[in-house]
């Protein structure tokens, strides 16, 4: 059995490697929550020396630099020591343009029950999210009959309390929590996406042509489009 000293050393080295690799691949902070989950999974013995939490362990073993989002206090991550922390610390939380990380897909549209699962308090320790062809089912009790696949959401996966913070930041934080959870479970955003509501659209006509114009655009491009309100009203009145 490895002694306490070598556990400290091995754990510190693993943290350093995880953060280094993440920085090289994604150019952004590696969230402490993700590092913690990975350590638990890949080197369970590390928990013997991370008794007071990962941030505390890194404080005592400063092999990486810990940074906290200036506005969203629960966003805490680590970068390699050689990274110069910019004045705008949030830049470290942004992703490389070329990155294909699931956490890049910030503006996904999810099933309401799935979205709420990251906001509503959990009644117990674990929340179960089961997904099958019929859709997403969320429950705080273990499903008796397993349909499709089920995944666990724990309190540490949820959006933390953001009292007094603007709605836009709360939404961003929830997206971040969901993306982190998806990444942790190696899941795709599409699995929990809201079903497209195309039923109300008339077949044919100018409206369809109008909406069809946007079909090929990416989420980022769609997010940049703004339409004057009076035009919206006119569009609606033509329906």
């Amino acid at each position: 059995m490895p002694d306490q000293d070598s556990l400290e050393t091995t754990t510190a080295k693993l943290i350093e490697d995880y953060v280094q690799k993440h920085w090289e691949d994604k150019g952004s902070v590696h969230y402490l929550s993700n590092i913690g989950s990975r350590l638990k999974r890949e080197f369970p013995e590390s928990q013997k020396v991370i008794t007071d939490g990962l941030a505390e362990f890194i404080r005592r073993n400063p092999v990486v630099k810990v940074v906290q989002h200036p506005k969203i206090s629960q966003k805490i991550g680590a970068v390699p020591l050689y990274v110069n922390v910019p004045e705008q610390i949030e830049e470290l939380f942004a992703k490389k343009a070329s990155s294909s990380s699931s956490s890049d897909r910030r503006w996904g549209s999810y099933e309401q029950a799935f979205w709420d699962a990251f906001i509503q308090p959990i009644d117990g320790e674990v929340r179960y999210v089961c997904v099958d062809e019929a859709g997403v089912d969320v429950s705080d009790t273990q499903p008796t009959e397993i349909k499709g696949k089920c995944y666990e959401i724990r309190a540490e996966d949820q959006t933390k309390e953001l009292t007094g913070v603007a709605i836009s930041e709360r939404v961003a934080a929830t997206h971040e929590a969901i993306n982190t959870w998806l990444e942790k479970n190696a899941l795709e955003q599409e699995t929990f996406s809201a079903r497209k509501q195309n039923g109300n659209r008339r077949v044919g006509g100018r409206m369809d042509e109008f909406f069809d114009l946007f079909e090929g655009l990416s989420e980022e491009d769609l997010a940049r489009i703004s339409i004057p309100l009076d035009i919206i009203f006119k569009l609606i009145s033509t329906k």
Binding site: D5, E8, R59, R60, V63, V64, Y82
Partner: protein, 284 residues
């Protein structure tokens, strides 16, 4: 009263070395050890660490012993690699109080000196707190323990940068927590503290702290660890009488102050003295 404060800077270039030298006139009792290194050795590089260690040993060697208020602080720019930090900690981590200077001050000699001068004032109360535990309360605190030979979760933590980023209040709390954990290892009937290898460490009484004031060991690390612990002076001659918990002859393998293993099996000793820097007496 003049208080010796050894202020060491790792990996300074010539300009910074000269600038830091000027602190001697502004800080009473300051011994500035900031040897200039070659351009490619600037920063927390291994050559810079070795050069600083040699310079410090030479400076400490001018005095045979230190009084309670003596201090040893070590400064460096934020390391760029984890290995640099590990190298530095391996050399100075158990003897000096380590402080980092923001990397934004690299190549800014004046602001670097000002940063150190200002920060020194804020670490004084922290060092005082450590001194209280490591020097004044040495018999009940784990801080002066020989870190290589006292095997326990406490020493595993003490081997890390446990005081990093702590303010006075949290430092005090942390030291109290160490003391509480240490108290649980106390064996009243044996008058000492039992480690995970069932060795009893009995802190020496003041009248027993004779002989070598600060056993120096073989290398620079053993030398500095014989005098200072986390930046504060150790009580001259303080050591632990170590014996087996069941009073049998010692069978353990112990580590010497320079890191080699000494097996006691063949020596048939009932006890051995171990100093805070892991110097073993009597020697083999």
């Amino acid at each position: 009263m003049k208080i010796d404060h050894y202020i060491v800077f790792i990996g300074a270039n010539a300009a910074l070395s000269t600038e830091l030298g000027s602190m001697k006139s502004r800080i009473e009792g300051a011994h500035i050890v900031a040897p200039a290194v070659k351009k490619r050795q600037v920063g927390a590089t291994q050559p810079a660490i070795s050069i600083a260690m040699d310079a410090l040993v030479s400076e400490l060697g001018k005095t045979t012993s230190h009084s309670e208020p003596a201090r040893l602080s070590l400064w460096l720019y934020d390391p760029e690699k984890a290995d640099q930090f590990r190298g530095l900690w391996a050399a100075f981590g158990h003897s000096a109080w380590i402080e980092t200077v923001p990397r934004s001050l690299v190549n800014k000699v004046g602001p670097t000196r000002e940063f150190i001068e200002s920060r020194i004032n804020s670490i004084r109360p922290l060092l005082h707190e450590v001194s209280s535990a490591a020097y004044a309360k040495r018999k009940t605190s784990p801080l002066p323990l020989p870190l290589r030979n006292f095997t326990s979760p406490i020493t595993a933590k003490l081997k890390t940068y446990w005081y990093n980023d702590l303010d006075a209040e949290s430092l005090s709390k942390q030291i109290k927590s160490f003391k509480m954990q240490f108290r649980q290892l106390r064996e009243k009937t044996l008058d000492g503290y039992k480690d995970d290898k069932a060795l009893i460490f009995s802190p020496a009484k003041d009248e027993e702290c004779h002989g070598l004031a600060h056993p120096t060991g073989a290398g620079g690390k053993a030398f500095t660890c014989g005098r200072f612990r986390y930046g504060v002076a150790l009580f001259a001659g303080f050591h632990y009488d170590v014996r087996d918990a069941k009073n049998r002859p010692l069978q353990s393998d112990l580590e010497t102050s320079f890191g080699t293993v000494r097996s006691l099996k063949s020596e048939k000793r009932s006890y051995i003295n171990i100093f805070p820097n892991d110097h073993l007496l009597p020697e083999k």
